[in-house]
Subunit: 331 residues, 4 copies
Amino acid sequence: MLFLSDNAAAVHPAVWEAMRAADAPDAPYDNDALSQRLDGAFSALFGRDCAALWVATGTAANCLALASMVPPHGGVICHREAHIETDEGGAPGFYLHGAKLMLVDGEGGKVSADVVEALAASLRGDVHQVQPHALSVTQASEYGRVYQPDELAELASVAKRRGLGFHIDGARFANAVAFLGCDPSEACQGADALSFGCVKNGGMSAEAIIFFDPALADLTRYRRKRAGHLQSKGRYQAAQLLAMVEGDLWLSNARAANAAAQHIARAAGARLLHPVEANEIFLMVDAEERQALRDQGFAFYDWGSDAARLVTAWNNRADHVEALARAIAAL
Amino acid sequence: MLFLSDNAAAVHPAVWEAMRAADAPDAPYDNDALSQRLDGAFSALFGRDCAALWVATGTAANCLALASMVPPHGGVICHREAHIETDEGGAPGFYLHGAKLMLVDGEGGKVSADVVEALAASLRGDVHQVQPHALSVTQASEYGRVYQPDELAELASVAKRRGLGFHIDGARFANAVAFLGCDPSEACQGADALSFGCVKNGGMSAEAIIFFDPALADLTRYRRKRAGHLQSKGRYQAAQLLAMVEGDLWLSNARAANAAAQHIARAAGARLLHPVEANEIFLMVDAEERQALRDQGFAFYDWGSDAARLVTAWNNRADHVEALARAIAAL
Amino acid sequence: MLFLSDNAAAVHPAVWEAMRAADAPDAPYDNDALSQRLDGAFSALFGRDCAALWVATGTAANCLALASMVPPHGGVICHREAHIETDEGGAPGFYLHGAKLMLVDGEGGKVSADVVEALAASLRGDVHQVQPHALSVTQASEYGRVYQPDELAELASVAKRRGLGFHIDGARFANAVAFLGCDPSEACQGADALSFGCVKNGGMSAEAIIFFDPALADLTRYRRKRAGHLQSKGRYQAAQLLAMVEGDLWLSNARAANAAAQHIARAAGARLLHPVEANEIFLMVDAEERQALRDQGFAFYDWGSDAARLVTAWNNRADHVEALARAIAAL
Amino acid sequence: MLFLSDNAAAVHPAVWEAMRAADAPDAPYDNDALSQRLDGAFSALFGRDCAALWVATGTAANCLALASMVPPHGGVICHREAHIETDEGGAPGFYLHGAKLMLVDGEGGKVSADVVEALAASLRGDVHQVQPHALSVTQASEYGRVYQPDELAELASVAKRRGLGFHIDGARFANAVAFLGCDPSEACQGADALSFGCVKNGGMSAEAIIFFDPALADLTRYRRKRAGHLQSKGRYQAAQLLAMVEGDLWLSNARAANAAAQHIARAAGARLLHPVEANEIFLMVDAEERQALRDQGFAFYDWGSDAARLVTAWNNRADHVEALARAIAAL
């Protein structure tokens, strides 16, 4: 009964099916019919023109998106616990040629417009200090918290005022949209680029970088190749994304994961470290309690010494979720 | 009837099967059982201890391998028409942080020990000139030519004498081994690292970097993550490679492609620009003749104004190959 | 009456004289007799074999030193207010190809062995987190505080245990030695590399990178050239450094600056934000008081809203220092 | 009797004088009055608005100029024997973050508009090949050859048509202007940026980057700092340049060097490998003849096995030049 992460869950049958269908011969790289369909599919999803590029990982998506906005001598404002800062092995430093992550704090892994403004205002504009060129936030955040559209609008506004590109790491964007129940475009309001997650949501190896400014996409095509991310059989990459977004699979998978998380959250009650909004549960449980849960067959990660992180996925079995909820309630 | 490239051919059924079997839950990244099996599988293949890392593309494989050998201020000796020089969008410059490709010439895309020695000998050792730190050759070459084991031994010898790491780009290594009929270890004799191709040979999205020096692999694990190439569902990557090399699929696929190429080569006769050793055929055909072939339904790339490049793959249909051979003979 | 910084003070007459003497023809780059004398001069100073390279700025010195210890995928532990973090325009990101500065806190800009150990211990060794490869501290610190030899020994010990290179930014190393009254080698105890400041201490445009491990120096000669820091008339660079360290000019200049700072510090008494050990004085003075000082002709920088930073230099006139001391006492 | 290179000649007395005068206290970095005067001085020289930044070396000047025009994934078209390719230790790879030098040939180290056009036309625009973003030529060339204004206009025209920035490495720009006898602006016609040499022409440690597009300069100020090239006592850098260009010292020094070269050239006659236009002489002399010259006290570099390179400088003594001319004539 795995609640370690959604990042290693099985591939959804509909994704498998789409990939198999891509076996038919077609042009290499992103010249195939499926890859060529991506811009249209995502433009339809977001109700506005956008360009969509597949890459293999969220790290590559985040870093290529940011590299399109930030020169090597610039900086990216992000949360101190953002994935790009804590879990990407320094990839932003690589892709952005040494640009700097400029860290801010915020409850639940969320960045507020105020702290961005405060950081920007604290800097002299001179050459001795790195100047920010982009803002990056995570939707849903690393603590499973979701930005409301008006919060994003405020962030976009300060970004614009300060001349910053605005990037959203949407590794779990689907879970955020499922929680918000809003139009996808509202859940990434004001962003210049979005890393649209698919792997954690039933895909295998494809994430999409969505550029709401096509000029950034053109530049990124060169950088994707240069980073060794232009797969020659790209049609299998495109197939995964199309399987997700040409129907509502991306949303139904996210809803399933969110629903499982809510079920567990209700059982957890006062033990929750953070409100559960997407598919991550941070639970105050001491070492003995964690052992008790593990003894019952539940797998999850410790979160420091007094807590645990549990993540639901599109394919958690209902009986596993129910068993976990009961086990937590019984602690 | 596609002879454009092997790089977009369908995925082999046995690879599909292995990937599907990887759907069972397992640990993320390369902590899963399949990824953990790679070192052993490749050590068995090469009859010596080696470390094997999956990546998504040959470009990433080549560049990560080279980055383990070459500091940012160093250089890589390679053929003027090497893939790393002509077709990777400057990826070596990115992965090696500005290190320089130092170009040499050689018939059929092959590098000889003599030209390597001559280049190295022509340099002052001073700081004004970039100094080479690695040698990279392609087996089989960009013109489908194959290095004999003794040629590689000579190259390895000069590399060692000059303090150079020795890398082999084996995007079509299987085709080279199939041609040589030798032990795989002989076909990469003396190499410190080998980019072991799988995508062009019936895989989907996995290549292997083989390090014959495990210390280089350890370093590269960090760099792979940093390049956004550590996929969380890595088990699907490992599955492709294991499907290839735990049996002889890699070799039988390559033999099929080579045999098709030989069949066509025999029909081509004096029109061949290069001896056909692997699965690429360079054919002297003028514009009219190319049009005639295309009118019969054959797809391939022009090679300059007076020639064409045709590439066979593991899955060319026998009737297509036969038809092509006849069409060429009839020109 | 300038107390803005020592970084723009005049060049000492003895340095001028040495530079003029370098006008005689000699070999370019660092092949001239003066540059060739540097290793010996600094080896004598430190009582052990070392290699010394001139560069034009402290930023270049720091970054080249660190680049010799830290791979692009690694990190450098340093103080949150270290010069490399706050005032070098992101140069470490450039020279270290995206390596990360890993920030710690500490009173007076000083790093303790405990916080280094705590940071190192907090990291998993896995590829998802940047791993530290060096420790960098500033002697004297950005707040004019000085490390005692035993503090350095402890830092060196944890660095060694954790496999970190140990770098000291000694932009004001002379002031630290003058304060400690110890042997220069004790003031950089355990360091693998030292940025030996000369510009702030009466030089014009030369700092020295001292490597206590000659292998690091050899590597750095290539990187210095590659960074455009190998001046062809390097003899004028070497002349500045030799003028400093072949006699005791470096020390007498620092003593003069320190003495001036002590004089002011005594007048400042309880207004001091930090003990004055080298040549920087951080003074609690409100806006009105700062205006009063400026009205009397003293130039200095604000330090936030309630304080000021004053820096003495080798050439402060005694009457200026005395006037400042009185003015502060009279506030 | 040194004819090795102009790059290590003594500093001109007027430059010394200007540097000494800069000893008076002023603001650090480039906030001093002298640095602030640079834009005006060079705008006057070129008869148009330009921005001028000092740096310590020609390598830094060239690379910072190019970095303002070329993204990391781009390329620079230059001559196969350009200084940036052969003598800067890979600095372009460092400063341009892995961008590629794209080499062309041309007589006397000169690039023609035709070969630039031919290279650009030979590229597919796709992501697999590095695309050029700038053209860089050397005025005077590495073989002492000078571009006529109309040749530069043609180069600028093809650069513009192909969307390339146009950079001129003017390490010996003064010698070129002295040869052409034209307005300085004509000798760099159409350039977006010029590395204006001073060190080889009687300066000590300052070169200027001239931007004819001020936006490029603003960006470069950040990059100069980031490269460790923003010296805190920048006024000594500015002083050197102003001493050169606020009067005609730059031109009179170059004329002296050129005249010496012409004197030697006349003696050399048919032994000249290249027409002598600036201050470099390439002389066909075999090993025995070179020895004969050296035995008479002349120092110079071999140029391959059958030739020598001799360089004159602003301060060659007339009797030395005369002696050399006679010695060559007498061979």
